[in-house]
């Protein structure tokens, strides 16, 4: 797999699957270090630069969120095909996170509550229709953490992982150094 730019910059892609964009927001919290970062890397498919589809193979893929629908699965698999190294960023990517709270409830029950029986349904969905259209993603029976779908190389804990941790992890990865994850960096209580 060829990756990297002619200038030797590593190429990074990011995505948010079944997440809340919190991990991306935390990423932006590296603040002025973003300027240092773009000296080191080039972004490809990512909400940061709004590139919607891969235009080249990448070195690093950062994945926020697990998989709750078939589109998530396709995007994740595409990331796996196009990126040398995949990092699961944050609780949802690692364990399913908050969305996985529905995993103890059947999908039918979830859909009924959301579209047919819930207290707010009357006005917004008078026909009590459960959305189903080729243009919208199909919902999976449960929420899957990323590693149950593809191989994940690194897991960066946190909800979200804080900006310094993301910065340290990314720069270590770029420099090919091992990152010592200190307990305090992912202890939140």
């Amino acid at each position: 797999m060829s990756a990297g730019t002619p200038t030797g910059k590593k190429i990074v892609a990011t995505t948010s699957l079944a997440g809340c964009f919190g991990c991306h927001m935390s990423f932006l919290d590296i603040d002025e270090r973003l300027l240092d970062l773009i000296e080191l890397v080039e972004f490809n498919k990512s909400p940061l630069d709004d590139i919607k589809t891969f235009t080249k193979d990448c070195d690093i893929g950062l994945i926020e969120g697990g998989c709750c629908n078939d589109e998530n699965v396709h995007v994740l698999m595409e990331f796996r095909r196009r990126c040398k190294t995949l990092v699961a960023l944050g609780e949802c990517a690692i364990m399913g996170g908050l969305p996985a709270m529905r995993n103890t409830i059947s999908l039918q029950e979830c859909l009924d509550e959301a579209y047919r029986l819930g207290p707010t349904v009357a006005d917004s969905n008078p026909g009590r229709i459960i959305p189903c259209d080729p243009d919208i993603p199909r919902i999976l029976n449960r929420v899957y953490p990323c590693h149950e779908v593809v191989q994940i190389d690194y897991f960066l804990p946190g909800c979200p992982p804080n900006a310094d941790l993301i910065w340290d992890a990314l720069t270590s990865l770029l420099a090919g150094k091992e990152l010592a994850l200190e307990y305090r960096t992912f202890k939140y209580d």
Partner: protein, 600 residues
Amino acid sequence: MTSPEIIETIIARYQGDETRLMDILIDLQDELGHLSSETVVQIAAALKIPQVNVEQTVSFYHFFAREPRGVYTVYLNNSVVAYFRGAAEVAAAFEEAAQCRFGEVSADGVVGLFQTACIGMSDQEPSALINGHVFPRLTPQRARELVEGMRAGWTILELKGTGFGDGNNAHPLVRALVRNHIRVPGLTVFGEYHPGEAIAKVTQMSSGEVIATIKAASVRGRGGAGFPTGMKWEFARRATGEMKYIFCNADEGEPGTFKDRVILTERPQMVFEGMVIAAYAVGARQGILYVRNEYRYLHDYLESVLEDMRRRNLLGASIGGVPGFHFDVSIQFGAGAYVCGEESALIESAEGKRGEPRDRPPFPVEKGYLQQPTVVNNVETLCSVVQVMLKGTDWYNRMGTEQSKGTKVLSISGDCDRPGIYEVEWGFSVRDMLAMAGARDVQAVQVGGPSGACIAPGEFDRVLAYEDLATGGSLIIIGRHRDLLRDVVLNFTRFFREESCGACVPCRALTGMAQRILERIIDGKGRAEDVEHLKSWLGIMRYNRCGLGQTALHPITSTIKNFPHLYEERLDQSDPRFAPTFDLAAALEDYAAATGAGTE
């Protein structure tokens, strides 16, 4: 009587003593069929204890039912050996005849079908408990007949028909279809024995002399751990307490083990006599025989033996005419929980609580039953004690090996012509035992039950002894034609997951995860790193509180060690970047069902 009256009567039977909660629940379930939420509330009120205390005991044990489980409740054994012998076909016949699935009660409420772990009948599988009575050697035809009988309202005795087993299985107070299958009677447990002689001899000695004799004979515990019995008694004798207790552990829950059942059937006097000797040595006044619920069919018989011994002054006040030597034994039944065989869980259970092992120290010899010094010994250990006292240390030490004296009663089952009971001197090799049992084409032998080790033919020259293959006494023989991982290892792993009491995180969580990984390896979707994970967990499992968790991965780790090819040949070799277990179409099925969308 209305059910509140029944509850009142039964609680009065036990003087409203909350430590007798197990007995109260067992009796109530007999009367009422199940223990409803209202019943639980009423028991709590009558005993004046919090409802949650009743709730946690009821919910812990397999045989306590919160919902009705049928006029006739069938518990079919789902152990490895039961399946070897055709339990799957028998289960199918039961389901077809009863018109309901396992885990359900038939629509007319007559037949309830449930599964249960090994019921101690591995030499006569497939077997089931029906309303607490054993129905061994089942066939699909027999299953159909039984359901027909239930529909016709037959009594248990009518369902049994004739053909009671040998020895005391045919005793009027037992009348069980169970057979003893004593293939090789040895010199200790099944040797010459006259009840009362040992007590007569012991009561001429001082308690210190008795302990010294047991120590000199190097009697070691037969319950699995092999702890020196004399030392245990010495600790309990020295411990201070208002009361001291002698427990006999007849929980016998390790799948594949059934020797204690045969000993209790044929040698109950010897077991009780052993308890009396222990009581004399330790200074105990009360004994409890804790028996697994699966052997409740022996209840009346065992009570009659106790009664007879009381009449003969072998139990009760001033035993053997020794002034001040008072000791009596009561019987405590469990209610279906393997972990209750662990001595501190056994004590908790006998106190009416969940069978959850205690943190140790303090050990039971210091603080056991009701926080008093307590000796817990296996059934067979107590028998050995009796013979040592009667026939002497030299006699006993002539048998066995350097570190393992005397004989061992083995429960042999699985793929062989002569499953049953073999009492042999310690030091026989696995190969000798296989020959005796008539086993051919052996792929593996599970020594010491699921918590022991699974060994390959290359190790069959190893000997049964504490210094080599230590065993609580079971050998399960696994033929060449079996799928070792699917038919044996997975079954054992599921067993441990189901029997974990849940107190320790590694035991509770990793048994479930191990089962899932093993299932995926068996399905050809495991990866080399899965095997590595399983191996690496052994380290953390050592930190579990009791032996169940500490050994729960042994079926897996010992087969990874001794049969590595069985794992390697099943590993998934597809593109390692994608998880072989994820199936998008399957993951979309629920949505398709809810909306009519496709899954491709």
